[in-house]
Subunit: 461 residues, 2 copies
């Protein structure tokens, strides 16, 4: 293995500015830009303004553009030589809610480095990975005064709540966003030191199920036994979503799936993956899910139906003998190619209607959805990425899938009609969406080097 | 029907003091004596002290006696003529938590009268009914300077959390509490204007079920499909508690039951009860529960298994794609004669152990229990109560059952070896344990008159 090398001027600049790069990222991470909670609307605007300022400072023309929800930060640098291609870099500046707060080792919005890991809400998802691109671009402009291709940076503020306003935004600004490729870093490497390109994402159909019974909470002694209990009714509905073996039992759920190719499944089976280590990492004694598939296949190629939240009746300290008037579940399905959120919504609603017991009213609301996605992996941006990743990490790139959803990937591909490169610098176990979210400091550094090298490699192609 | 009459002096005193009686009760109801929440410990002491003060003021020797939990208020008046019997009046000064606060029309701890109903947490359960006795006793002492029998008033502060410290208290103070009968008003009349004696109570076995999966909440995309979801596992466990027809499906659950007599069941069937009105009252379109029984039989004579609370994952606004690390249910069984909390705990634990899926850890905790109870209904205190109720309400008393639990009833009977009279002045639909709890102002007045008349009638027997 040869020592990894990226162009010397970029390497030198990134090394020399390492401390400042970290300090500025800490500033970004301290802004609690939680898109799901209206009380953070001010923080959302602050994060967008902060990012716009940084992009302006490095030489981009940047603005924040209002949407029906949180603003989009849009920045452009279009001074590349005539005939040079244009690349759109996408990221998001919003983060997941930090709760439960008591499970964080250090506060969610007070970035802290321990053992080579930078802990903070948004560190890996996605502020840290967006920062990788901003600083890679700055490396070029600061050292050379120019970039080898035109760049558009688009950072949205609604990725964690379904990116509802981004598709209309892309449609509305399609001409301005015209490009030759889209690059997104919002995913993970297969393992430390193994650079990875992501070839598929699962889609999402996220529901809230509300079961309403008596007009108010009742005394469980005085009324219990004659009234349908909404909490029990909800449990019985949820229990019908899977069969005893772990397959989703919603009629038609698997029907439209277009399976992954034998070649891709074979590649996945070759990846060094240990169920034992996976179980240890997440702290469980045994795994579950749909029978007949490996863990990676379950995570990357098969759909799911999961409870995300449950709430009913009395949940505090001690015992309250209440027959709850209502019960709520948040339930979401991860989708794979062939499935669509709209179709799954229909199937889910039909299923719940069929199994809902009399005596309660059941309402299923589709909170948001995203299409699954699968890449072709051919063309100059993919080739350039493989070379840049090898230069920065010193290893060949592997092709991976991912179980998460980035709904906008399909939107970019469909509306702008260009390939989308997903190259991520997270790592398994980094607690995205959970307490103690972190990003590897080594990956922050390696990612910046790879993404700085990418622009040179791309125009060589 | 003759016009109801109680002794003129008592009637006159109660009428003349009506406003003060109400004002003082309002003071009592304003103290948020929520026994389940440690942050209300100060309010619990305040409520006990307030009650002790009122009992002292009317002529009793009263004290608050510490327990391992909340204090007991114990008051005595023992100056009755030689040979007069002694009666222990029991009530409780603690109340249920008021949540959900937003469903109260007027604040839970700001008593308000609307349409002849006094709304407040604790109005009917049990401060208002305890107050009926205090003022009935005051009517005697204020008008006559004496009572026809000796009276012990015992008010505990842990009825809503299982009365765990009361049984030891009764055992420890059995000599001091020695009496000829116990009278308790913590139940309801069958319907407005129909005075009622309660002949049976269901017992209780209250559990918390905790399902633990991954060590922390996980991203539902990155991990969903390969990990057993604690929320879904909990739902599947809860769904096994009943069969498709609504019978409890926990093995052995019904085995030890000693059925109610045919005579009692026949009496219940004669009571004027309307399923249509019951459904309207609680706001549901259809009823549920164990097949083969009338609604009153289900409520009074059959055991249940109910969800009292559910909590898992993300329950806030919007959509958070989390695979929760844990899920919790509060589940309680109402018990009928023959069943015991200890036996049901064993059956519940065995059942959950059998159905719990691999991949999660399931812990069942028995939070508290109470024995079911059934009265014989013979003897002087019951005869006296029938006469006093007729004098105050002008109607014959009916014998009813109740679905709720007052665990201490069995304790009194067993330890003090005396009959327990349960005579209640609540009404169906009064929202005990729910928002907008109320007591009928007419029943407050009627109850005071009946309980004032009770002491004269008792010594006549």
């Amino acid at each position: 293995m040869t020592k990894p090398t990226i162009p010397a001027d970029l390497e030198q600049w990134l090394s020399a500015n390492d401390q400042r790069i970290h300090d500025e990222l800490f500033e970004f991470l301290r802004i609690p830009s939680v898109s799901a909670r209206s009380e953070h609307n001010g923080d959302m605007r602050a994060a967008a303004d902060w990012l716009r300022g940084k992009l302006t400072a490095i030489g981009f023309t940047a603005e924040t553009i209002p949407t029906a929800g949180h603003p989009v930060v849009l920045a452009e640098w279009k001074k590349a030589p005539a005939g040079a291609p244009t690349v759109l870099v996408y990221g998001h500046y919003d983060v997941q809610p930090p709760e439960p707060l008591e499970l964080w080792t250090s506060p969610a919005f007070e970035p802290t480095i321990r053992d080579g890991k930078l802990f903070a809400r948004g560190s890996v998802d996605d502020k840290g990975q967006l920062w990788i691109h901003v600083k890679a671009l700055e490396a070029h402009l600061a050292t050379r005064g120019t970039l080898p291709c035109n760049i558009i940076v688009l950072a949205e503020g609604e990725e964690e709540v379904g990116s509802e306003n981004l598709e209309p935004f892309i449609r509305q600004h399609a001409q301005r966003l015209a490009c030759d490729a889209v690059v997104i870093s919002d995913s993970t490497m297969f393992a430390p030191g193994i650079p990875s390109i992501l070839s598929s994402l699962r889609g999402l159909a996220y529901f809230q199920i509300d079961v309403t019974g008596p007009a108010s909470d009742l005394h469980s002694g005085m009324y219990g036994g004659a009234v349908v209990n909404p909490g029990m009714a909800l449990a019985r509905i949820l229990a019908t979503f899977h069969d005893a073996r772990g397959k989703v039992a919603i009629k038609g759920f698997y029907d439209a799936i277009k399976p992954f190719s034998a070649a891709v499944r074979k590649g996945m089976k070759k990846l060094p993956f240990s169920d034992v280590r996976f179980k240890k990492e997440i702290g469980v004694k045994s795994l579950g899910g749909e029978p007949g598939y490996t863990t990676l296949e379950k995570l990357w190629t098969r759909p799911t139906c999961e409870v995300n939240g449950l709430l009913s009746g009395y949940t505090g300290e001690g015992a309250k003998t209440v027959l709850p008037g209502k019960a709520m579940a948040k339930v979401s399905c991860r989708l794979v190619p062939g499935q669509s959120p709209a179709k799954i919504e229909k199937l889910m609603k039909a299923h719940v209607k069929k199994v809902a017991p009399p005596g309660v009213t059941v309402h299923v609301q589709h909170l948001h959805g995203g299409h699954p996605w699968r890449a072709e992996l051919d063309g100059p941006i993919f080739d350039a990425a493989r070379r840049a990743l090898r230069a920065a990490f010193g290893k060949e790139t592997v092709i991976v899938g991912e179980g998460g959803s980035i709904p906008v990937v399909g939107d970019f591909e469909r509306i702008l009609k260009v390939p989308v490169l997903l190259v991520g610098f997270g790592l398994p176990g980094e607690n995205a969406h959970a307490p103690d979210e972190w990003i590897s400091v080594a990956n922050l550094r390696g990612g910046m080097r790879a993404m700085a090298a990418l622009w040179d490699e791309y125009v060589k192609a």
